[in-house]
């Protein structure tokens, strides 16, 4: 969420254990104002912080014209005062960074190590293949992953115009209580990875300019997100089980929403072992996810899918289709 609304948002995020002191707010605000001025961002989003053993990383994301494409990331090693641009992760660092063990230290030049196992290795010996990357690379991989997997907006908050430009919807009026308690009302803020029709086939009231993003209901396993409404039923709180420490909120029936990540920066890969899909979640998956899963299953067998269904041509073309739709 834009840092200008951070003070306001903290009222809603405080319930998840994160509060900022007055001093911190003041310092961060002034630093971010200068950062925005220097870089001429339209918006400057506060991502959160990654807790290191010695220092914390404060993270922001500057947004230009397009909400999804024009993004620049910055991190700060002292509490939100001096900002350094975060490099884009290479493809292999992306995987290595997420597999790194241990905590972040808080020093960008520190080593982060992980163990890799060659694909064709017959037996795995502990500590045999250690790969070391710099913590800055790991940080950038982690931030990209968080943005990719966690950043969510309520449906309708972002809009895509005829030119393909994505921007905030000024006429967004918020989700109702019923809508906000369902997974398919929250969308990933990322370039769509699922087939473009996956969202809209289950919506009677679909709107191509709103439903162009991936819904979190498609994430697997079912129940890897948590949605709670607060005691007075004014705010819905989202939590990702893959990234403990991620909290999103949406104040019902208002255009206010946002999210924050305050965690160790370590992805919890164990989610499938850790949850018991409750019956109501299963029901949701039947109503909304069932058809997706079925189609996905069809899509894996490409020949069959092509033969049976002309416009659904399997997983390999998903991204292509998404891009095609981008261009439209």
């Amino acid at each position: 969420m834009d840092w200008k609304s951070l003070n306001f948002a903290m009222d809603y995020l405080a319930s998840s254990g994160t509060v900022f002191s007055v001093e911190q707010r003041l310092a961060t605000q002034s630093a971010l104002t200068l950062l925005q001025q220097e870089n001429q961002f339209k918006q400057l989003h506060f991502i959160g912080k990654i807790l290191g053993t010695e220092n914390d990383y404060w993270l922001v994301c500057g947004i230009g014209n397009d909400f999804l494409k024009d993004r620049t990331y910055f991190y700060s090693n002292n509490p939100g005062m001096d900002w350094v641009m975060l490099p884009q992760p290479a493809d292999d660092t992306m995987e290595l960074g997420l597999a790194c063990r241990g905590h972040f230290v808080g020093d960008p030049t520190a080593d982060s190590e992980t163990e890799i196992c060659p694909d064709n290795a017959d037996e795995i010996n502990d500590g045999e293949d250690w790969v070391t990357i710099k913590e800055e690379e790991r940080l950038s991989a982690t931030v990209m992953a968080i943005m990719n997997e966690c950043a969510v907006v309520p449906r309708g908050a972002l809009i895509k115009n005829a030119n393909g430009l994505v921007y905030e919807n000024k006429t967004f009026e918020g989700l109702s209580k019923l809508e906000a308690s369902q997974f398919h009302s929250f969308y990933h803020v990322r370039r769509p990875e699922n087939p473009w029709d996956r969202n809209i086939v289950v919506r009677a009231d679909y709107n191509l300019s709103l439903d162009f993003l991936d819904s979190i209901a498609c994430d697997s396993p079912v129940g890897c997100w948590s949605i709670q409404t607060d005691q007075l039923e004014t705010t819905a709180t989202l939590r990702s089980l893959y990234w403990p420490g991620f909290v999103g909120f949406h104040q019902l029936d208002t255009p206010r929403y946002g999210w924050l990540y305050m965690g160790t920066g370590k992805k919890n890969w164990d989610v499938p072992f850790m949850i018991l899909p409750p019956p109501e979640r299963l029901k949701i998956s039947v109503v909304e996810g069932g058809e997706f899963q079925y189609e996905e299953f069809k899509g894996e067998d490409e020949n069959e899918a092509e033969g049976m269904n002309g416009f659904y041509t399997g997983n390999a073309d998903d991204e292509q289709q998404a891009e095609e739709y981008d261009e439209v």
């Binding site: 002191s21 230290v105 000024k170 005691q231 890969w269 018991l276």
Partner: protein, 711 residues
């Protein structure tokens, strides 16, 4: 309606001539129509009808009338006025509404960018979504909000000052409460290190603590432990310590309730103690297997494994009746005893074999003793991991539930699994190895572990009390030499905060963290804080043992040392008040991180220590020496690798190979008949028993020889 208009519009010149002059004024009003925001839609539609008819007239007059242009215009308008088969709308009305909305509201800026959304919203409202909903229009406050308001109101009634006078008149007296924290002040300090909860929540927790301490006289001390986030709901946790000797700790006790628990409950009502399900099944099995070979001794051996009292064991047994032999028909007569004289050597051999088999079964019958870990006794309430009790609730303002005491098995298994809390105490914990209990038990195990691992304090803030809670009368005198004391007995973490504690910010902010110590007892790998010796069979009650342990340690350290040397495999943890510099994290990084608050005002600085092992566990110390522990997290221990559940154990062997499982060819009818005849008539032994397995022939032959010898 639309048809009529279209028909009418086909001959525009007709009205054009006649009505032009009269309707000029109307036409002008029509043009301004978009500005009339207060016009109700119905009236407006009516006006539009007239307007649609008359507008062209005016326009044409203004534009100095060209018939051709008029025709084009009318056609375009007719097209706009086409009513959709699907929605019943027409574009003309819709556009005028869109334009009016923009003009009325003058928002947002850059209206052209939001044309689509505004248009969509207008369509939506036209269909009545969000406006015409009778449920939404009716006044309604949902049930949870209402009950919450009632509850809070009741609190005020109960606790607020202006009710005190009234109560004194009624003779109820003022509430007596244990000590509790000032949570709002705590929140202020937490805020300095960028954690905390909303003030409203803190205040509600404080209300809950106040209510508990006012209504539960057995509670000595209450403390806000923290908040644990779950998938569906969150847990607020209050740590309680009971007064010594108070037996009423079952008042708010949470008991697991679901299908299986209900079943147990029903059985309990029928007078059968819980936990006997398996034995009951065994009775049924036995009764069904009446005709199968089972003798009384065998059953006695089996029933001894049930762990019941001897009288109840006897109930499990079928009444001792005839001793049936394999293959022997039942008609042997009821008066017959086990001492059957077998004149037939084959039958005797058979009987011998069976007796041997049964003897062997009885000797090597598997005992349901279980592994060593299942024998480790639970620490009694009020000591060790169960010294603290925990109240939890999901919704502030709801009832606080006391979690049951934790067993070492539950602690140990909770160490080997990773599981997300859902927020429902009764939900299942489906892990491998299987967790013995519901989520409430798992939560309790987590609380015990986090308390043991994540609670630290500045050195010298806490002071050990006597082993069994001697009242700290002389505490103030001993204050001067706190650190020179002998370490408290092992496993006893009954500590008391030193009054007038002076915090040294310089020492506490030392990056080596040497001035921070654990003040909770370490939980041994056994799942207890005091080690239980499996070699010594437990005598008497567990409570006695643990208290003896403590006193032994106190009195004779030398003896204890000797014992330690003697007992192999004794588990030792670090002593109480050990510095956190000794701690180790699984990833080799620092297990604790130092957090300091303001860099501008060091006078008001707050120092905090954050656990990296139990993310979310924090302890703060202010410059005035206020120390507080709080946990705000997911209940997940930091785990450097990815978690892989163990492979399930191999299935146990169900049957032991014995004679009743051996395959034997069925006897022919003749053979069977002859065998029956032989038995019935007590026939002579020279008839070959056909149905005995061929392998036995040698034996029988030998026996025959022996028999012959005897004769």
């Amino acid at each position: 309606m639309s048809k009529g208009e279209v028909v009418g519009l086909k001959n525009p010149e007709e009205y054009y001539a006649g009505e032009a002059a009269e309707d000029e004024d109307d036409g002008i009003i029509c043009r301004c129509n978009p500005c009339e925001c207060e016009t109700p839609p119905e009236i407006e539609e009516e006006e539009e009808e007239t307007e649609k008819v008359e507008k062209p007239v005016e326009i044409i007059l203004d534009q100095n009338g060209d018939a051709y242009q008029l025709d084009e215009f009318m056609r375009a308008k007719a097209y706009f006025l086409q009513t959709s088969n699907k929605s019943g709308l027409n574009l003309y009305d819709h556009l005028s509404d869109v334009i009016r909305k923009f003009l009325d509201e003058r928002a947002p800026n850059n209206p052209v960018d939001y044309l689509e959304e505004v248009s969509m919203n207008i369509k939506r409202y036209r269909f009545g979504i969000g406006k015409m909903d009778p449920l939404q229009d009716a006044f309604h406050i949902s049930e949870p909000i209402l009950s919450d308001a009632k509850r809070v109101y009741a609190y005020w009634k109960a606790f607020s000052r202006w009710n005190e006078e009234k109560k004194e008149i009624e003779g109820e007296g003022i509430y007596m409460g244990g000590s509790f924290q000032n949570l709002l002040r705590l929140q202020y300090y937490l805020e300095q290190i960028n954690i905390g909860l909303p003030r409203e929540e803190m205040f509600r927790v404080a209300l809950g603590i106040k209510e508990l301490s006012a209504t539960r006289p057995q509670i000595a001390k209450l403390r806000f432990w923290g908040k644990i986030f779950g998938i569906q709901k969150n847990y607020y946790v209050i740590e309680a310590e009971f007064k010594f000797g108070s037996a009423e700790q079952t008042m708010d006790l949470w008991t697991p309730s679901d299908d299986t628990a209900d079943k147990n409950g029903q059985e309990g009502q029928q007078g059968i103690p819980p936990g006997t399900e398996n034995i009951l099944d065994a009775v049924q099995t036995f009764s069904r297997a009446k005709d199968v070979v089972l003798n009384h001794e065998f059953l006695t051996a089996y029933s001894k494994t049930s762990g019941l009292s001897p009288e109840k064991q006897a109930d499990l047994l079928p009444k001792p009746t005839t001793f049936y032999m394999p293959g022997a028909p039942e008609w042997g007569g009821e008066g017959e005893t086990e001492m059957i004289e077998f004149e037939d050597p084959d039958a005797r051999a058979d009987a011998m074999k069976w007796e041997g088999y049964q003897q062997e079964l009885m000797d090597s019958f598997p005992q349901a003793s279980g592994s060593e870990s299942s024998q480790i006794p639970m620490e009694p309430e009020g000591s060790g991991v169960n010294r603290r009790a925990f109240y939890v609730c999901n919704v502030l303002g709801g009832d606080w539930l006391l979690l049951p005491s934790i067993t070492p098995q539950q602690i140990n298994i909770s160490r080997n699994v990773r599981w997300f809390l859902t927020g429902n105490l009764n939900s299942e914990v489906r892990t491998l190895p299987p967790f013995p209990g519901k989520e409430g038990h798992y939560l309790r195990a987590l609380l015990a572990r986090i308390t043991a691992g994540g609670m630290v304090s500045p050195k010298g803030y806490f002071k050990a009390m006597g082993p069994e809670g001697e009242l700290p009368g002389e505490e103030d005198d001993e204050e001067l030499e706190p650190e020179d004391d002998e370490p408290p007995p092992y496993g006893n973490d009954n500590v008391l905060a030193v009054k007038k504690y002076q915090a040294s910010m310089k020492a506490l902010t030392n990056p080596s963290l040497a001035f921070w110590v654990h003040h909770t007892a370490y939980v041994l790998p056994q799942g207890r804080t005091t080690w239980w010796n499996p070699a010594v069979p437990k005598t008497g009650k567990v409570k006695k043992v643990s208290s003896e342990d403590g006193s032994d340690l106190d009195e004779d350290e030398d003896e204890e040392d000797e014992e330690e040397e003697e007992i192999p495999g004794r588990e030792m943890g670090p002593p109480l008040f050990q510095s956190i510099t000794q701690d180790k994290a699984a990833d080799g990084r620092a297990p604790w991180s130092l957090v300091t608050s303001s860099s501008v005002f060091p006078e008001f600085q707050v120092v905090a220590i954050r656990s990296n092992v139990w993310s979310g566990s924090n302890v703060i110390c202010t410059s005035k020496g206020k120390v507080s522990n709080i946990y705000l997290g997911d209940g997940l221990k930091f785990f450097p690798r990815t978690f892989a559940p163990p492979v399930p154990p191999p299935a146990t062997k169900e049957f032991r190979a014995g004679p009743e499982l051996e395959e034997t060819p069925d006897p022919t009818v003749e053979a069977e008949q002859s065998w029956l005849d032989k038995l019935a008539l007590n026939a002579i032994a020279d008839v070959e028993p056909k149905f005995i397995d061929n392998e036995e022939e040698d034996v029988t032959a030998d026996e025959e020889e022996e028999d012959e010898d005897e004769y």
